[in-house]
């Protein structure tokens, strides 16, 4: 490894070298900056909502603004942060490295996917600046097709971002099939890659359906085509079918990569082989597949037939089985492991707790008779925030803290890391547990005003949100400081057996200084010999 070879951050320092890069690692950093802006925006909208909900009546905004605010919060959080965050940041950065490859299969398509993200985000933001939509991020017809608010740019923005997601998934599947280094059998593939594979299958199959239905709503809103208009013989519930056919599997686009991060980190921080590797890998594909059979559970009270409701209710239970398989395997991995309670591990603990409880409430709302009571109340809001913020966000933060030394070559302050993690877990509980109680007591969601008796719990929830906010601010501060002034991190500060830890911190542009051969699994802590071997570059024929 020559000292003169710059690592990927220093290999070209002009703006042009960043904006026209085809290096998957730089594209990952471009995505990181972009999704963090999305997270910031979504967080601002969330705080605005929580401030408004401090009092039963108007607090800081009027009803129309409130409706716009929760629409923007949903659209921004889901399309600009949750869907792309883990795959397009950590997936892009580490998938090729974990394959022992130099890049993804189609590096230029990768760059295109980022530009599509930016264009889509800009379109959606343009709509927001001009007042935004008040339909909710779910754009239900007939309101979305008749509202005069600026729903069309937001629909088009989401449509364009969908293509970004499709290209990422396409790139990942082809890469995993065709770029595995010699010796990297499917049974040695890192579990993060198995989870990305499942995610990519969903991105390919489900996203186009969303793309079409968003276009149809935009067309009907603009031109009055009437595909969902009952006055013309249309069925507004068909919109919900088409919408949720994507949007339910979409939650697995968010959760599967998160689970993949947990598989990687849980093995490292218990210094133990992952328990039940094959079952964990298989369950990633299982979730991706079965997730497509459950969309009707969002339509339980929409006018869908009771037959469909019953069928979808039963099918929805099956997804829980695969998630449970993973949870049991993770816990078994921890058992008798040599636990290293660092910041990533704090987030792992948060993840397990939130996934289990959020998941159980998912099984609860998938029960038709119970959902009749809870649908469109804060119970559902709390359920999905437990999974989205609780599980997925914890995993994102775990991945960020785990891979930060590798991506930037710097160390962050461990003490502040644990402080922030504690604030976030605490703040999260304080924000969303009251919402379960509110929903069960009957407070509807997306309501600007509420009854007096709900105020105490709402105030508690807003207080919790403030704690969450402090936690995030602390993370932002120490990570930026670490990026600028942190102590250099070694190649493998956690002592992990993962393949990515055999590279330099930060990695070279070419990832590896020679030809890679895989000789073991990424989780074998009994073994002393390295599982990834590099031989110096040999002149290749064409």
């Amino acid at each position: 490894m020559s000292e003169a070879t710059p690592h990927y951050l220093k290999d070209g320092t002009t703006i042009r070298s960043w904006l026209l890069t085809v290096d998957h690692k730089r594209i990952a950093i471009l995505y990181l900056v972009s999704v963090l802006v999305g997270l910031l925006l979504g967080g601002i909208f969330a705080m605005a909502l929580r401030l408004e909900l401090l009092t039963p009546g108007p607090t800081i905004m009027d009803a129309l603004t409130y409706n716009r605010m929760f629409t923007l919060h949903g659209v921004t959080m889901i399309f600009l942060f949750m869907i792309p965050a883990i795959p397009s940041v950590f997936g892009n950065f580490f998938l090729p490295i974990m394959l022992g490859a130099k890049d993804v299969a189609f590096p230029k398509l990768n760059l295109l996917s980022w530009y599509l993200y930016v264009i889509g985000a800009a379109l959606a933001l343009w709509g927001m600046i001009h007042g935004g939509a008040d339909t909710g991020w779910t754009f239900y017809t007939p309101y979305s097709t008749t509202t005069p608010t600026k729903v069309i740019p937001i629909l088009l923005g989401a449509f364009v971002i969908g293509f970004s997601s499709i290209l990422t998934g396409l790139n990942f599947i082809v890469s995993i099939h065709t770029l595995r280094a010699p010796g990297l059998k499917w049974t040695r593939l890192p579990l993060f890659l198995w989870s990305l594979y499942g995610t990519a299958v969903i991105q390919i199959l489900a996203t186009p359906v969303l793309g079409l239905v968003l276009l149809l709503v935009a067309a009907e809103n603009a031109f009055g085509f009437g595909l969902f208009d009952p006055a013309r013989g249309g069925d507004p519930v068909m919109f919900q079918h088409l919408f949720w056919f994507y949007s339910h599997p979409a939650v697995y686009i968010m959760v599967l990569p998160a689970m993949g991060v947990i598989s990687e980190t849980i093995s490292t921080f218990s210094r133990k082989n992952i328990f039940g590797y094959r079952m964990v890998a298989f369950s990633s594909l299982g979730i991706a597949f079965v997730g497509f059979f459950t969309w009707g559970h969002h339509l339980f009270v929409s006018g869908q037939s009771t037959f469909n409701a019953g069928a979808f209710g039963i099918l929805s239970m099956f997804v829980g089985v695969f998630t449970a398989i993973k949870v049991f395997n993770w816990v078994a991995t921890l058992y008798k492991g040599a636990i290293s309670f660092k910041t990533p591990f704090a987030y792992i603990c948060g993840f397990l707790y939130f996934l289990v409880f959020g998941g159980m409430t998912g099984v609860a709302v998938a029960t038709v008779s119970l959902d009749v009571h809870w649908h469109d109340t804060y119970f559902v809001v709390a359920h999905f925030h437990f999974i989205m913020v609780g599980a997925v966000m914890m995993a994102f933060l775990a991945g960020l803290h785990y891979w930060f030394p590798k991506m930037f070559g710097k160390t962050y302050h461990e003490g502040w890391g644990l402080v922030a993690a504690s604030l976030i877990v605490l703040g999260f509980n304080a924000t969303f547990i009251p919402q379960f109680l509110l929903g069960n007591a009957g407070m509807p969601r997306r309501y600007y005003a509420y009854q007096e008796q709900f105020q105490a719990l709402n105030v508690a929830s807003t207080a919790g949100a403030t704690l969450l906010l402090f936690g995030f601010v602390i993370i932002a501060i120490y990570l930026v400081l670490a990026f600028r002034f942190g102590a250099p991190a070694g190649d493998n500060p956690w002592g992990s057996r993962g393949f990515e830890w055999t590279t330099a911190s930060p990695p070279l542009t070419e990832n590896f200084p020679g030809e890679v051969e895989i000789t073991g699994t990424p989780y074998d802590y009994q073994e002393n010999a390295p599982s990834l071997r590099i031989t110096p570059e040999v002149v290749r024929g064409s």
């Binding site: 199959l205 069925d235 079918h241 056919f245 006018g303 037939s305 009771t306 037959f307 469909n308």
Partner: protein
């Protein structure tokens, strides 16, 4: 690599199938049979295009799997949506839909409290 003859043969077959489907559509087969026949012929034509023009006949298993899986999910979507409409409580259907005239809803609950199911809800 095989000669170009294969493509010409498939082309003739496609033209013949097109003529057939056009001809069959001029004949009233009663009930839904016209639709069934048309779909069967369309599937045959599509299979020829996919297998021979698009080379799936001599392609790798993964490419075949990708195509088959995509078709499966299209059918899943359609089955879920049409299945919903076919099994709905009558008052939840579009009121003028002739396609469900006379069909009894399965499962529980004709709403006898609010009158006969033929009453238009206004």
């Amino acid at each position: 690599m095989h000669g170009q003859r294969r493509y010409w043969v498939v082309w003739i077959a496609l033209l013949a199938l097109t003529a057939t489907t056009y001809g069959m559509s001029r004949v009233d087969l009663g009930g839904h049979w016209n639709l069934v026949v048309a779909l069967v012929i369309a599937v045959a034509k599509a299979s020829l295009v996919v297998l021979f023009f698009m080379h799936l006949w001599d392609a790798k298993g993964t490419n075949r799997l990708v195509f088959i899986v995509s078709i499966f999910f299209v059918l899943l979507l359609i089955a879920g949506v049409v299945g919903d409409m076919a099994t709905r409580f009558p008052l939840a259907r579009p009121p003028e839909a002739s396609g469900l005239q006379g069909a009894e809803p399965p499962g529980p609950g004709r709403d006898t409290v609010h009158g006969s199911q033929n009453e238009r809800v206004r």
